[in-house]
């Protein structure tokens, strides 16, 4: 492989990761506020179908993306209403919504299968696109990819560098404390869940109008991505930057799978295609195992040298969810 080929390949990894990125960042924001939006797998499919249908009938890419965001926000509203107002299990409601939205996408999307529709073109950044190496990698992308860079940065700045962001951390970690300080916890949870849902809703059109343009029904190959995005959110430890790293790692692995497939004809393609999933389990294991009691006991039995190394490694990988994740809040 030449340098140019590798650069183009890596640029395609950045582009392919964009939809997953929206999903992961949207979920991170929602979970930071204490609400798990488990419907993501269905939301992505429904917003992919809906965004494509809107863009095709209106011949407007912008309306397509907005349509996807509206769908994502509406699904998130159902999650928020059922869990915050009606006190039902977020996991239960989210799982059911994941199924409803997926089947709804297949049902309503039937007339749009294999139709040709608008597609987002690459938009090289004037001047910067000509910069050697970096130009090919970063500045010869679609607007969607640029937007994905922006969303990572904005989410990170918002959560860690602003006052309202601090409050967002508070309502996910210690809602009672946030309430005492004058925050309307449940209203903020509604707001952030819907905002997160709208960002998740960008993921669908990013596929159907850009990365995997078109709607192919059950063979769209999008079923399952939402579940992966949920796992990446955990891997990301509810930090947008670490989550972005996870999403890029995942896209990189998929690309490597494709590259290796052509050079390793003896390995069945099915094996390489699922390689990310065992790796996903493994990473979750590494992220979580530091919290397990038996690990602490085993570590205590180790000699000091290796113990320090392993402890440091596990601590670097470890991530703990917002303390009030999934727990309803009552002010009285």
């Amino acid at each position: 492989m030449t340098t140019e080929q590798i650069l183009v390949g890596l640029a395609s990894v950045l582009a392919a990761a964009a939809p997953v990125m929206f999903a992961v960042i949207g979920e991170t924001i929602s979970e930071r506020a204490g609400v798990i939006n488990l419907s993501m797998n269905g939301t992505i499919l429904l917003s992919a179908m809906g965004g494509f249908a809107v863009a095709m009938t209106s011949d407007s890419l912008l309306l397509g993306f907005l349509g996807g965001m509206v769908i994502g926000a509406l699904v998130a509203l159902v999650v928020a209403f059922s869990s915050i107002t009606l006190h039902q299990s977020q996991v239960a409601v989210g799982f059911v919504l994941a199924i409803i939205c997926r089947d709804l996408a297949y049902f309503l999307g039937n007339p749009y299968v294999a139709q040709s529709g608008p597609r987002l073109n690459t938009a090289p950044v004037p001047g910067l696109a000509a910069v050697p190496y970096l130009g090919t990698l970063l500045f010869n992308q679609t607007l969607v990819t640029y937007l994905s860079f922006g969303v990572i940065l904005l989410a990170w700045l918002w959560i860690y560098k602003t006052r309202p962001g601090l409050m967002l951390q508070g309502i996910g970690e210690r809602p009672a404390a946030a309430f005492v300080r004058g925050t309307n916890v449940n209203a903020m949870r509604y707001l952030y869940t819907i905002l997160g849902g709208a960002i998740i809703g960008l993921a669908g059109p990013s596929y159907s109008l850009s990365v995997k343009a078109g709607w192919m029904g059950t063979i769209s190959g999008l079923d399952g991505i939402g579940w992966i995005a949920l796992a990446i959110t955990i891997f990301g430890g509810w930090n947008p930057l670490r989550a972005a790293f996870g999403a890029y790692l995942f896209a990189l692995l998929q690309w490597l799978g494709l590259v290796l497939q052509s050079s390793l004809p003896n390995v069945p393609s099915q094996v390489l295609q699922v390689a990310p999933f065992p790796l996903m389990i493994l990473t979750l294991l590494l992220v979580n195992i530091g919290n397990a009691e038996w690990v602490a006991r085993t570590l205590a039995a180790l000699p000091a040298g290796p113990r320090r190394v392993v402890t440091r490694l596990l601590r670097a990988l470890r991530a703990s969810p917002p303390a009030a994740l999934g727990v309803p809040f009552e002010s009285e």
Binding site: L86, Q88, V93, I99, F107, W227, F277, L284
Partner: protein, 368 residues
């Protein structure tokens, strides 16, 4: 006198519950109807087509019963994990592994000269082992690795599907080239005996009814079931009271895997007679929906699973008759569960505001 009012209040509660649940059902139907009208499809004809497809002829009824058996099994499985407070989404993969193990043993023994009935029994037992092994993998990840069972299970589902595809296109491929239609069908003497002229095997139904009875008594009348529920309701309290929590969680995974593996074994020995790519046929996820709807009551799962199986079988004809996608059944099933959850939430909210008289605390059907 006091007893009398308690009884009448209880009757009233049951009546309120039933009316709220019916409201959820009507709402789900209403929403689906609006959706059908929105896409320009005749709702009445669509529902009629589903009904005719599920119950229109003896063959159709038998097809519905064929789908009923594995759905009952997966529902019973997830009822056990639900009791322990676990979301065993990995059940799809556990069904798949059951089917793979059964296929493996049938392939291994089909030339062995053993009596066919023995091969079938061994095959089904292998399926049970396969399902239990795959479930215990998710269980170990959960109890020792701290990996949430939802994500461990989902990952294992994808791996199970890939394993199936690899076997069908690789080591177990049909003579010549592998195809999406699955492995070569087994000879007829290795099929679970069916009603002559039809595909329905009464054995499959018998096994799933046994499963219902077992789970019903397990959850209602045994110490193990009680401790399982204790772990599910409040793990910390259960642990402090001396219930070995991780053992119970792992056991619930294993048991769920047993039922899931049995469902997979039946898919191979009684339904498809070979391994196909989508061998689990979504029965795991549908079983989760049924289990959510029946709220821990194993016996209620019997009619609800029949209804869901009828929806699935009936909707198969929709693309041919009305050019509609068969996923309509999934939408209706999902909406039904979602609305029951939401209506239940609304009922609790209304009751806490004393608009509706509160339930007696001793009411058996109170499930928080």
């Amino acid at each position: 006198m006091a007893k009398n009012t308690a009884a009448s209040r209880r009757r009233k509660t049951i009546w309120i519950n039933v009316s709220f649940q019916s409201a959820a059902f009507v709402l789900a139907l209403l929403l689906t109807t609006v959706m059908l009208l929105a896409v320009g499809a005749p709702p009445f004809q669509a529902y009629r087509s589903i009904l005719v497809g599920a119950f229109g002829s003896v063959g159709d009824i038998f097809d519905t019963l064929i789908a009923w058996a594995p759905l009952l099994l997966t529902t019973m499985g997830v009822l056990i994990t639900f009791s322990a407070g676990l979301w065993n989404i990995g059940i799809e993969g556990q069904v798949t592994l059951g089917a793979i193990f059964t296929t493996w043993i049938l392939r291994l023994l089909q030339e062995s000269g053993l009596p066919p009935w023995l091969i079938i029994v061994l095959g089904i037992l292998a399926g049970i082992v396969g399902g239990a092994l795959w479930a215990s993998l998710a269980g170990v990840l959960k109890t020792f690795g701290g990996v949430n069972e939802i994500f461990g299970g989902l990952g294992l589902n994808f791996v199970a599907t890939a394993l199936t595809l690899w076997l069908i296109f690789g080591p177990w491929k049909r003579p010549g080239t592998g195809s999406m239609s699955g492995t070569l069908p087994f000879p007829e003497e290795l099929w679970l005996p069916a009603i002559p002229g039809f595909r329905l095997s009464p054995w499959a139904l018998v096994l799933s009814f046994i499963a219902v009875v077992v789970v019903y008594f397990l959850l209602r009348g045994t110490h193990f079931g009680l401790r399982l529920k204790a772990v599910g309701k409040n793990m910390r309290a259960a642990y402090l009271l001396g219930v070995p929590t991780w053992q119970h969680m792992l056991a619930s995974f294993l048991l769920c895997g047993v039922f899931a593996g049995l469902a997979g074994a039946l898919q191979v020995t009684a339904v498809y007679h070979r391994l196909i790519p989508s061998i689990s046929s979504n029965y795991g996820f549908t079983g989760l929906l049924v289990a959510m709807l029946v709220n821990f009551h194993a016996l209620w799962a019997v009619p609800v699973a029949l209804f869901f199986a009828a929806l699935n079988i009936g909707s198969v004809h929709l693309p041919i008759v009305l050019k509609l996608d068969s996923s309509l059944s999934g939408v209706l099933q999902g909406l039904l569960v979602l609305l029951v959850l939401m209506v239940e939430g609304a009922r609790q909210r209304l009751m806490s505001r004393k608009i509706i008289p509160a339930e007696p605390a001793s009411g058996e059907e109170v499930q928080s």
